[in-house]
């Protein structure tokens, strides 16, 4: 029989088997220590000394930037959710121009970098249509961007709804509206929630690109601060940490939904 040597047993687990919390914590801690050690060694080798003294000095601006990132992300999430659901429905529309418009929108947005969209919408569309509020423009751009991804998430879930469920809904006498409300919507929510939560983390990260049109969110705040104190390493490491403060809990929530809602598969 193939036995794991005693010395490495605290660090192994069979794939799929549950890991005891203490063992998991120990191993996670070991990984974190190793990662920090590598970063530390790299910084030392590059001759960089980190300095976070500026945090106290700029704490108000940092807090404002943090709030702006959260606000823009939250607004974009709400709008892109509505947009995504509409576009996903539009991709199955009977009216062909509408169907293809939705399809083209998803393809173009998903097929181009966000930075191109930011410049294009802000400087060309924004200027042409008189949108000069940067925050508003930023929310619109981020919503358009994220909406295409959400449309794909929703469309995938719609396609994965079992035809038998719809036939059963007809058989019990549900109208189309009742089928939507009692059968399609609940199953759609259950299937899309994990992926949608993941999308929230993406929106938060992607909002950093709005700094290129000078929306004073977190990234732009750090850019402005580092432009005056030249503390790029401290500034951007802090920036990464602040995004993790937002995204790590969201990823945990996504994982939680994944486990809780898989009743049908």
């Amino acid at each position: 029989m193939n036995r794991t040597p005693a010395i490495i047993r605290p660090f192994t687990a069979r794939a799929g088997a549950p890991v005891r919390p203490a063992k998991a914590a120990l191993n996670y801690l070991a990984v974190c220590v190793a990662v920090i050690a590598v970063v530390w060694a790299s910084l030392a080798a590059a001759g960089i000394s980190l300095n976070f003294d500026f945090v106290a000095q700029y704490r108000v601006r940092l807090w404002d930037g943090f709030c702006m990132t959260v606000g823009i992300s939250a607004a974009s999430l709400v709008i892109s959710l509505a947009l995504g659901v509409l576009v996903a429905a539009g991709q199955g529309a009977r009216l062909l121009p509408l169907r293809y418009l939705c399809d083209l929108y998803v393809k173009i947005i998903r097929g181009t970098p966000l930075i191109v969209q930011v410049y294009f919408f802000y400087y060309i569309i924004g200027t042409a249509w008189g949108i000069d509020n940067r925050v508003l423009a930023g929310i619109v751009i981020l919503s358009l961007f994220s909406g295409a991804y959400i449309a794909e998430i929703v469309r995938g879930s719609l396609l994965s709804i079992d035809a038998g469920q719809l036939e059963a809904a007809r058989a019990v006498g549900f109208t189309r509206a009742q089928t939507l409300r009692y059968v399609v919507a609940p199953q759609l929510v259950a299937r899309t929630l994990p992926a949608l939560t993941g999308q929230v983390a993406s929106i938060i990260k992607d909002s950093s690109l709005l700094s290129v049109i000078a929306v004073i969110e977190l990234t732009q705040t750090i850019r402005e601060i580092t432009a005056t104190n030249y503390n790029f390493f401290g500034g951007f490491l802090l920036l990464g940490a602040l995004y993790l403060v937002l995204t790590l809990p969201i990823m945990a929530i996504s994982r939680h939904f994944e486990k809780r809602l898989d009743y049908a598969h």
């Binding site: 079992d162 038998g164 036939e167 809904a169 058989a171 019990v172 549900f174 009742q178 009692y182």
Partner: protein, 244 residues
């Protein structure tokens, strides 16, 4: 109840599945048998208002059935349908599966719908499964919940589309026993089935569908004891080849 089909035809993308079905009989316990691909399930779907024929007419108790969606929906609410598998809503408990359509479609008050669902599920031996979702139930339990849902609104006719084809043998018996008990209590039903023992002993009439045609119809004893067409003789002898 009297079901009348007149020159009923059905094609899917130019492929003819049902050919010129004409049938005018009293139905109380009818089995539709025949080889796979013979059109049994399609015929049951048309009778159940889930599918529309390409041509021909249908009448139930002398009432002609209109094949527009609104009329069909109203017609479907008077029937109960049980599918081969997975007809239950995945995200609802057994109790909700039975009670919700009763409440939403038939306008029964929520507490009354709940009571009726509990009573039915208990009668079908599912007292301990009320809160379970379909994924937590055995195949036989799922089909019994589906039967409870189909019966909830006291339909005038129960339609069962191969309700035991996806089940292990012991669950098959469990589900067929339920249908037989219901029939003895006076529930009218049409069943598409490959269980010949059930068709012969629990159904009073049998229809044999072959290649989209209704080749034979008659009392079940006669159909099994004296098949008139070579197709039915061959079909039955094939089925008996491996039986004890």
């Amino acid at each position: 109840m009297r079901i009348s089909l007149d020159h009923l035809c059905k094609s899917f993308d130019g492929v003819e599945v049902l050919r010129d079905i004409t049938f005018n009989e009293e139905v109380s316990a009818l089995a539709i048998i025949g080889p796979s691909g013979g059109g049994k399930s399609t015929l049951l779907h048309i009778i159940g208002g889930l599918e529309t024929p390409t041509s021909g007419t249908m009448a139930v108790d002398g009432q002609p059935i209109d094949f527009d969606e609104a009329s069909l929906r109203a017609y479907r609410t008077t029937l109960g349908f049980v599918f081969q598998d997975s007809g239950l809503f995945h995200h609802m408990s057994a109790l909700e599966n039975v009670a919700l359509p009763l409440h939403v479609v038939h306008g029964v008050g929520a507490p009354e719908a709940d009571d009726r669902a509990r009573e039915l599920l208990a009668r079908l031996g599912l007292k301990d499964a009320l809160a379970k979702r379909p994924a937590q139930l055995s195949g036989g339990q799922k089909q019994r919940v589906a039967i409870a849902r189909a019966l909830a609104a006291r339909p005038r006719l129960l339609l069962l589309d191969e309700p035991t084809s996806a089940l292990d043998p012991e669950f098959t018996t469990e589900v067929l026993d339920v249908v037989r008990d219901l029939a003895e209590e006076g529930t009218r039903f049409i069943i598409v089935t490959h269980e010949m023992g059930f068709a012969r002993h629990a159904c009073d009439h049998v229809a044999f569908l072959y290649g989209g045609r209704l080749l034979e119809y008659g009392p079940s004893e006669r159909i099994f004891a004296h098949p008139e067409t070579p197709e039915l003789s061959r079909f039955l002898s094939r089925l008996l080849e491996w039986s004890m």
